[in-house]
Each structure stands twice: as structure tokens, then as C-alpha cells.
């Protein structure tokens, strides 16, 4: 299982999303590899990913992908992350 946490420049917001996605996965007892990526590298990073986590603002920049794109509104809300990951992976 591979999950990509996506932000515009690949530092800051994607790293926060990665850290909190890992915490949410731990709650769900799901093993997955979470990678932080930026828009420039998302094609490569998400080529074999099941899920892309990102902000609604960045969805149009992702382009064509086979991964499920999950929009996270509050990157610090573990309940939101857990619920959305559970739906996507359940």
C-alpha cells in the first residue's frame, strides 16, 4: 500500500500531511508507505500509489492518475484524516 501526501513545493504542508496520515493509519491498524511529494514530482511519486492526499486547491494540478484523490480540509484533524482514509482503504 502506497500513499502520497502532496503539496505545492514538497516541504511544509506535505510533511505535516505525511506525519498525520501515518498517525491516522496507525489508528486504523493499516500498514502503508506514506511519501511526501510536490506537484513537480507527483506523476512519478503517484505512479504506483493507491491514494493521493492533498488540498482541494491542488487537485486540478494532479492531472490524470489511477490513484484515489482524497481532499483533506484540516491537515491537523486526525479524525478527518482517519475517517477519509478508512473510506478510501476500507
Amino acid at each position: 500500500m502506497k500513499i502520497v501526501a502532496l503539496c505545492g513545493v514538497g516541504i511544509g504542508t506535505s510533511a505535516i500531511l505525511k506525519v498525520n496520515a501515518e498517525r491516522a493509519l496507525e489508528r486504523l491498524d493499516i500498514e502503508a508507505d506514506v511519501t511526501a511529494a510536490d506537484i513537480a514530482s507527483v506523476k512519478l511519486a503517484a505512479a504506483d500509489a493507491q491514494v493521493i492526499l492533498t488540498s482541494s486547491e491542488l487537485v486540478p494540478s494532479i492531472g490524470k492518475t489511477n490513484a484515489d484523490v482524497i481532499v483533506i480540509d484540516n491537515f491537523f484533524d486526525l479524525d478527518e484524516l482517519t475517517a477519509k482514509l478508512e473510506i478510501a482503504l476500507g
Binding site: G10, V19, N74, F75
Partner: protein, 160 residues
């Protein structure tokens, strides 16, 4: 790795700004004042939002302004700006914003380590309104639980 120290210079409380650009500008000015960045980094933080939109508004009321590492980042740093009146960044869910964090890192990697600390602080949903209501820089730093830089003493604190 823990968060970089937060000098009082890097904190600006209760600013009045007309729009998101001025808010990000204030976070950039605070990074410059504290010695973390050179002029130019602020413009790059604004350019990130111009290019990619308001995704930096990562929680209700909170923007994490940042740009890629570059020669204008002298040392890793964090700044905190709170606004007297919130401004819109254009985010569909998390507007309006009244707390702006400015973040400058020298490499992508070191950053990923200390960002876990930021998550620990901000996963508590009461922190953003508490920061927005903080009366002065010392209260902001104390709410965040981030260390003062080595050598800073009471004489360097801003008059209140």
C-alpha cells in the same frame, strides 16, 4: 530534531493588514528580522501561493507560508503573525485566516523531522484560537511551547 528556536523578533501580534499578501509579507518580514532569511524569500512565499493557490491554509484560520530552500534562507526559522482582523486567502473551507506561520528551511530533509513537532502542537484544535487571542509575543511563544534562542534575556523582549 526539534523546532528552531523562536526569538520574540519573529513574532508579530495583532497586526492590521489589508489582504493575504500583506499577511504573508508580515510573516516574511518577521523571518528577516529574526535573521533567518534575506529579502527575496518573502516574495518567493507569495509566489508559491500565486502559483498553487491557497493550499497553504491547512487548517481553519491558519496559513503555513513557505517556499523552497534557497540562497535567501540563511538559517532555518519559524515566524508567527497574528491578525487583528482576519483576511481571506481564497481557501474554500479554512478562510478566513488570523494566524500565519512563516517557515524557512535550508534543505527539504531536516524539515521533515521537525515538522512532526508542529503537528504535535497544532493537532490540538484549541491552539489556533488561543494564538489568535494572545496579547503579546511572549504569550504566543509560551502557547507554542517553543524555546527561546540561547542568550535571549528579558532585556531583548519587546516593550508591551
Amino acid at each position: 530534531m526539534s523546532l528552531p528556536p523562536l526569538p520574540l523578533d519573529a513574532i508579530d501580534v495583532g497586526l492590521h493588514v489589508p489582504d493575504w499578501r500583506a499577511a504573508v509579507g508580515a510573516a516574511g518580514a518577521a523571518l528577516e528580522r529574526s535573521g533567518s532569511t534575506a529579502p527575496g524569500y518573502t516574495e518567493r512565499m507569495v509566489a508559491v501561493i500565486e502559483e498553487f493557490g491557497a493550499y497553504v491554509v491547512i487548517a481553519p484560520g491558519l496559513a503555513l507560508a513557505h517556499a523552497r530552500p534557497g540562497p535567501d534562507v540563511l538559517t532555518e526559522g519559524l515566524s508567527v503573525v497574528t491578525l487583528a482582523e482576519p483576511v481571506a486567502f481564497g481557501h474554500p473551507h479554512n478562510d478566513p485566516v488570523n494566524v500565519i506561520l512563516g517557515l524557512a528551511v535550508t534543505t527539504g530533509d531536516e524539515h521533515v523531522h521537525f515538522v512532526a513537532e508542529l503537528a504535535n502542537i497544532f493537532n490540538d484544535s484549541s491552539i489556533i484560537p488561543a494564538l489568535a487571542a494572545a496579547p503579546d509575543a511572549a504569550s504566543v511563544r509560551s502557547l507554542l511551547g517553543i524555546a527561546a534562542p540561547t542568550g535571549e534575556d528579558a532585556s531583548t523582549e519587546e516593550p508591551q
